[in-house]
């Protein structure tokens, strides 16, 4: 006789008295079918586990962000795949855009002060519209502060960091979106721990409010190294 129908064998696993006599007989003598019944019985025995416990809701964003930004090992970077290159170029461009924005901001500022009417001559101090303390990520150790200064329609992010350590590399400043999905480089702390970065106003409005300082090795990779020295959320 050919092998029994698996569904009938499943029935036997659930109730050995269930099913046509010939199937039962066959399952007793055929090692293969008996094995399947035993396997089904084993599965049945493994039923009953408690409901699965989902991880905390916050983990999802962390996983996705880490997968995205830490995607730098040579093995996992197929130069030929579209999505990877599509993702990486804008980040690089973002750096350039941020640098340009910085230059533009400085330039406009100069022009602005040069042509302003006398009553507006006082230094363009601007208004601090948001600020945050910067702290280490693995502790509450202080790492300085960051603030957003609004002058006319320009936002300038002032970073005054401290104790960033002596890990080799340059310190790059990023804005991470509170959605945990997007980030943008706004420039380098070129002269030590202080820096000012003009950013388009709508970036802040879009939720790019987390200031992050990374240390970047000179490896030609324009993406975040994954090593954050300090962070704070502007509020």
């Amino acid at each position: 006789m050919s092998h029994a129908d698996p569904e009938q064998l499943a029935g036997l696993a659930l109730d050995p008295t269930d099913g046509p006599a010939d199937v039962r007989e066959h399952a007793e003598t055929c090692p293969e079918c008996a094995g399947l019944v035993a396997a089904f019985t084993g599965v049945r025995r493994r039923a009953g586990a408690d409901a699965l416990v989902p991880p905390p809701a916050g983990l999802r964003a962390q996983v996705l962000a880490e997968a995205r930004t830490g995607d730098t090992s040579p093995l996992s970077r197929p130069v030929t795949t579209e999505p990877a290159s599509r993702r990486r170029v804008p980040l690089w461009l973002a750096g350039v855009a941020a640098a340009l924005a910085l230059l533009a901001g400085v330039g406009l500022g100069r022009i602005g002060t040069g042509t302003e009417t006398p009553e507006a001559v006082e230094p363009p101090a601007g208004t601090v519209v948001a600020a945050t303390a910067l702290t280490a990520l693995d502790s509450d150790a202080e790492r300085g502060e960051a603030s957003v200064v609004q002058t006319d329609d320009t936002f300038t992010i002032r970073v005054s960091a401290s104790e960033l350590g002596d890990e080799p590399g340059v310190h790059e400043v990023w804005l991470i979106n509170v959605d945990g999905k997007r980030m943008i480089s706004i420039g380098l702390l070129a002269s030590g721990d202080e820096g000012e970065f003009a950013v388009p106003m709508d970036l802040i409005d879009q939720g790019y409010r987390i200031v992050d300082i990374s240390v970047e090795p000179d490896d030609g990779d324009p993406t975040h190294s994954g090593v954050s020295l300090a962070r704070g959320e502007l509020a």
Binding site: P55, L59, V63, D71, G180, L229
Partner: protein, 213 residues
């Protein structure tokens, strides 16, 4: 200096697309998993999101049962999915490949945490004897846990009414007649759902057994 995953923000999205058409067929389900695996291999980030939404509870529960520490379990869960993304090129898509693969990665990560704990313990007291035997016992217990969780996940993945019927039969130990009355289906239909459900669970479990080692 710190190496920390980032951004360390709470997720703004909850749950995920766990929609299976009421009348969906098992083959469609498999095709869906295959397609998902293929997208992951191709580097599609949304595939990672879907995979996380679908299997993070399985991975997290496994780590939780194996390590008995919520923090470690969370850490392992994160590592598993990040590692899955980074080593996605090593995945060979098959219907059971994704859960099997994730469970396989989770085994390794759990072992890493145990090794780290053992090293810490060694520093306190140089207890080296019986380590191997203990590991084997632990591994066997872990495997049993993993299999039970995979079965649980497979039930959750069944299309209704099969899922409800299998759940009533295996978890609540209801008789076929009771179930028939409860769900309003003929006894024969209920019986068939239970048997086919069992076959499907078996198929999933076998897949995980073969591919996660």
């Amino acid at each position: 200096m710190t190496i920390i995953p980032f951004p360390a923000r709470a997720a703004r999205r909850y749950g995920g697309p766990v929609v299976t058409g009421a009348m969906s067929f098992e083959d469609e389900q498999d095709d869906g998993v295959l397609a998902l695996a293929a997208r992951l291999v191709a580097g599609d980030e949304t595939a990672l999101e879907e995979i996380y939404d679908r299997w993070s509870a399985l991975v997290h529960t496994y780590a939780l049962r194996a390590l008995h520490d919520p923090h470690d379990a969370e850490e392992v869960t994160q590592q598993v999915f990040v590692a899955a993304w980074r080593s996605r090129h090593t995945l060979t898509p098959s219907p059971a490949a994704l859960p099997a693969w994730l469970v396989g990665i989770a085994r390794h990560k759990v072992a890493d945490v145990r090794a780290a704990r053992a090293r810490d313990a060694d520093r306190l007291a140089a207890v080296v004897s019986l380590t191997g035997a203990r590991d084997d016992t632990l591994q066997a217990a872990d495997d049993e846990v993993a299999e039970r969780l995979v079965v649980r996940q497979a039930v959750e993945d069944l299309p209704d009414p099969r899922r409800t019927i299998v759940f009533l039969a295996f978890w609540e130990e209801r008789s076929h007649a009771e179930i028939a009355e409860k769900v309003g289906l003929p006894l024969g239909t209920v019986k068939s759902h239970v048997r086919r459900g069992l076959m499907k669970l078996h198929q999933q479990l076998e897949g995980v057994r073969h591919e996660s080692r």
